[in-house]
């Protein structure tokens, strides 16, 4: 392990009700990378990111983030992680602004008014930020959660299907923002099944299916490994997933 390796996953396995959902997975995410975890529904992507963010503990194997072991009560480590789950459940009886206040207090982050104003206008939440979250649409909740993460500017972003419910303007803003923070040395682990998004953002890709990592690396490397003439992620994805299924 070196300082450049932000996330190190070693032989991680996880079972739910006796069923293995992750089987000895290992991968590394380096500093400043946009690492995209791709896979079909039920592949184990969400379980992986839940383990990485410290929400779940693996049944076997180890997870290191910033060279420190991740576990449920590792509060210091969690302070530098921004985790967005695939389903945006929040306290529906709180107002949007109260939720932001709650998150900033939990993470002990100072309130940056300039950044708040910038983000709230980009996400177009000005009119509803003082309203209870129960009246928000799914997209609004997603925006609020994204805003609460971007506002505290963590070192590592773990984002599970971040574009669900977002409108085109926000999607465009989000993509630009992710590229910008990556260029500033922040690390992003993105979990999605949208190939288009991965194509546009990914510096490295990892394809997972049935709880196993099928292939991982730079697109160029993967394409040459698979003897493909193209670096198209769609081609790579279909080749890897259907190829393995047919065996």
């Amino acid at each position: 392990m070196n300082n450049n390796e932000i996330v190190v996953v070693r032989n991680v396995s996880k079972y739910f009700d006796g069923k293995q959902v992750l089987s000895n997975i290992s991968f590394v995410v380096k500093k400043g990378e946009i690492f995209v975890l791709l896979g079909p529904n039920g592949a184990g992507k969400t379980t992986t990111v839940r383990i990485l963010s410290g929400v779940l503990e693996p049944d076997s194997g180890e997870v290191y983030i910033f060279n420190k072991k991740m576990f449920l009560n590792n509060t210091e480590l969690k302070r530098d992680i921004g985790y967005l789950p695939d389903e945006p459940y929040v306290y529906s009886k709180l107002r949007g602004i109260e939720f932001i206040e709650f998150i900033l207090s939990l993470y002990k982050k100072e309130f940056d008014q300039g950044k708040y104003k910038y983000l709230i206008s980009q996400f177009e939440l000005q009119d509803v930020i003082s309203q209870p979250i129960e009246i928000y649409s799914k997209g609004m909740k997603q925006k609020l959660l994204l805003m609460s993460i971007l506002l505290r500017d963590p070192e590592l972003y773990i984002l599970d299907e971040p574009l669900v419910g977002l409108d085109p303007k926000c999607i465009s803003f989000f993509k630009q923002y992710i590229k910008q923070i990556s260029s500033l040395g922040k690390t992003v682990l993105l979990c999605t099944h949208l190939l288009e998004l991965a194509e546009q953002l990914a510096t490295r890709v990892c394809i997972i299916n049935n709880g196993k990592i099928l292939i991982s690396g730079l697109r160029k490397e993967i394409a040459s490994q698979l003897n493909l003439n193209t670096e198209s992620l769609e081609e790579i994805y279909l080749r890897v997933t259907t190829g393995f299924q047919h065996e």
């Binding site: 929400v55 459940y89 306290y91 939990l106 003082s130």
Partner: protein
């Protein structure tokens, strides 16, 4: 009509699939629950049967007394039905995601509306019927009703149930139409419950039982006349009582007239529901989602505070914005007032009675505490189940989080407990030793029950629910109540001997005192920390 039947069949299929696709643990859980309910049903029947046989032996007033009890039971259940329907219909008629799906389908609004009304009727009456049916069947079997008699009685009870639930639904729809803002609707709902609780408390404090004592009447004839008078004769509950009386004295004229009254009122309420309900339902549904109010809360009000204050603020905000929680709190206060009043009405001339009542009073208070814990603490993990990701991924030590939660909730449980024990012991005029030991016992048991309540909430979360009442009445809630009852019985048994010695004026030796203290600590430790240990394990692994 076709669509309504399809929707009802769909509901049945959903119910069937819940059983068919249940996991092994859930199946065992359902069987246990069914056994418990059946046991409760049989016990209620046997007790009712024995009590009625005993009352029937009273000369002259036996049958009149039976009718009086039935009338009161039907009246109480009728009022409870209206309230239950009122509260349930707020969530079944308005607050469900399923409505969005239903309205997107090519189904008539009338069908959707009546489908929701039928669901509301079912959800609001099943528990009341579970209590009332064995009671009524007990009465009917003592009076040897024929099969036709049972059929007529069942029909009249069903009419009463539907009238009650339809009234509840109508009130909800009218409220939602008049007050489209959810906040005002909640305030009105809370006001209704507060006023009803106040009315019930005043009714109890007026001591209606004194009218059942012949010595309060100058002549026996007047007493019999009082007993024979109808109880709220314009309400369907009295008509059902009259049906029962008609069957008892085989006067089919009385039976027929009252069945007809029930039938016509039932038809009338359904017609009102059809004409008024359907129109207002759709209007109130569309209006209730469009009333957005601008709040004056600004970013300058943001206050980044300590973990304790952050969680405390969040808990207070969520509690104050959840009307059902507030309603339950009001109901608990009303019941507690009546509980203390009931104690004050006991014959307390002798010390041994006061000490004995004070001892059993501890059990009663612990049960009230259990009810409070069930309502406010046990429900927490289920309510937060889908949001725990936020706390688990945040830089918060989970042990600290649980300790803060405990500190936040313990006053809500402890303060009412200490107030009740102090007030009831003052009413009982107990000495300082009993007073202080009662306070210590309630202090410790409040903490233990709070810990156990939260732990059971984690162990048996209800992940999907329509309102908080469903969490309380879930399998986990039942297990918590049963284990808490065992804890209360064991704890009381452990202190029974010292109380007996105290009553007899006998002293305990030093070793006996140590023994009873260790026993007390151990019982509390086991019940407080065993579920906590397993809950912590489950929380780390599964949440």
């Amino acid at each position: 009509m076709y669509n309504l039947i399809r929707l009802l069949f769909l509901q049945l299929k959903l119910f069937k699939n819940t059983i068919v696709f249940a996991q092994k643990f859930e199946k065992i859980r359902s069987v246990l629950l069914l056994l418990f309910v059946t046991g409760l049903f049989i016990c209620s029947y046997i007790i009712s049967y024995q009590v009625i046989i005993y009352i029937s032996t009273f000369p002259v007033i036996g049958n009149i007394f039976i009718i009086r009890i039935l009338a009161l039971a039907f009246l109480t259940s009728f009022v409870m039905l209206i309230f239950s329907s009122l509260i349930v219909s707020f969530s079944t008629l308005y607050d469900e995601n399923e409505l969005h799906l239903l309205f997107s389908l090519p189904i008539n609004v009338n069908s959707i509306f009546f489908f929701r009304v039928i669901l509301t009727s079912f959800y609001s009456c099943w528990m009341i019927l579970l209590v009332v049916i064995p009671f009524v069947v007990g009465f009917a079997s003592v009076k040897n009703f024929s099969i036709l008699g049972y059929f007529v009685l069942t029909t009249s009870v069903l009419f009463k149930v539907f009238i009650g639930t339809v009234i509840g639904c109508l009130v909800t729809i009218i409220l939602s139409y008049l007050f489209p803002s959810r906040k005002i609707k909640n305030i009105v709902l809370i006001l209704i419950v507060v006023l009803s609780s106040l009315f019930y408390s005043l009714l109890r404090i007026s001591q209606p039982e004194k009218f059942l004592s012949p010595q309060n009447f100058p002549e026996l004839v007047e007493y019999l006349d009082f007993l024979s008078r109808p109880v709220a004769k314009w309400l369907p509950s009295w008509w059902v009582t009259e049906v029962f009386r008609g069957l008892m004295i085989t006067d089919y004229w009385i039976v027929g007239v009252n069945i007809l009254k029930l039938f016509f009122v039932f038809c009338f309420t359904v017609i009102v529901l059809y004409i008024l309900g359907v129109k207002l339902f759709y209007k109130s549904l569309t209006r209730s989602n469009t009333n957005l109010r601008k709040s004056c809360l600004k970013e300058k009000d943001l206050n980044i505070s300590s973990l304790f204050r952050t969680i405390l603020t969040k808990e207070i905000r969520l509690f104050l914005r959840e009307p059902i929680q507030m309603i339950q709190f009001v109901v608990v206060i009303a019941l507690t007032t009546i509980y203390i009043f009931n104690i004050s009405r006991l014959p307390l001339e002798f010390k041994y009675i006061r000490v004995t009542v004070s001892f059993f009073n501890l059990g009663g208070i612990m049960f009230i505490i259990t009810a409070l814990v069930l309502r406010f603490v046990f429900v927490q993990p289920s309510m937060e189940y889908k949001i725990f990701w936020l706390l688990k991924s945040a830089p918060v030590n989970i042990t600290h989080f649980f300790i803060i939660k405990f500190i936040v909730y313990i006053p809500m449980i402890l303060i009412p407990g200490l107030i009740i024990v102090t007030l009831s012991n003052l009413v009982l005029k107990v000495d300082s030793i009993l007073m202080s030991s009662s306070l210590v016992i309630i202090l410790v048991s409040s903490a233990v029950l709070t810990l156990a309540g939260y732990s059971f909430g984690i162990l048996f979360p209800k992940k999907e629910y329509k309102d908080i009442a469903q969490i309380e009445t879930s399998f986990g809630g039942l297990i918590f109540i049963l284990t808490s009852l065992c804890y209360i019985v064991i704890l009381l048994s452990s202190i029974a001997e010292p109380v007996k010695r105290y009553l007899l004026g006998l002293k305990l030796s030093f070793f006996e005192i140590i023994f009873y203290i260790i026993l007390f600590v151990m019982i509390n430790f086991i019940y407080g920390f065993t579920p906590g240990y397993y809950a912590a394990k489950k929380f780390i692994k599964e949440y």
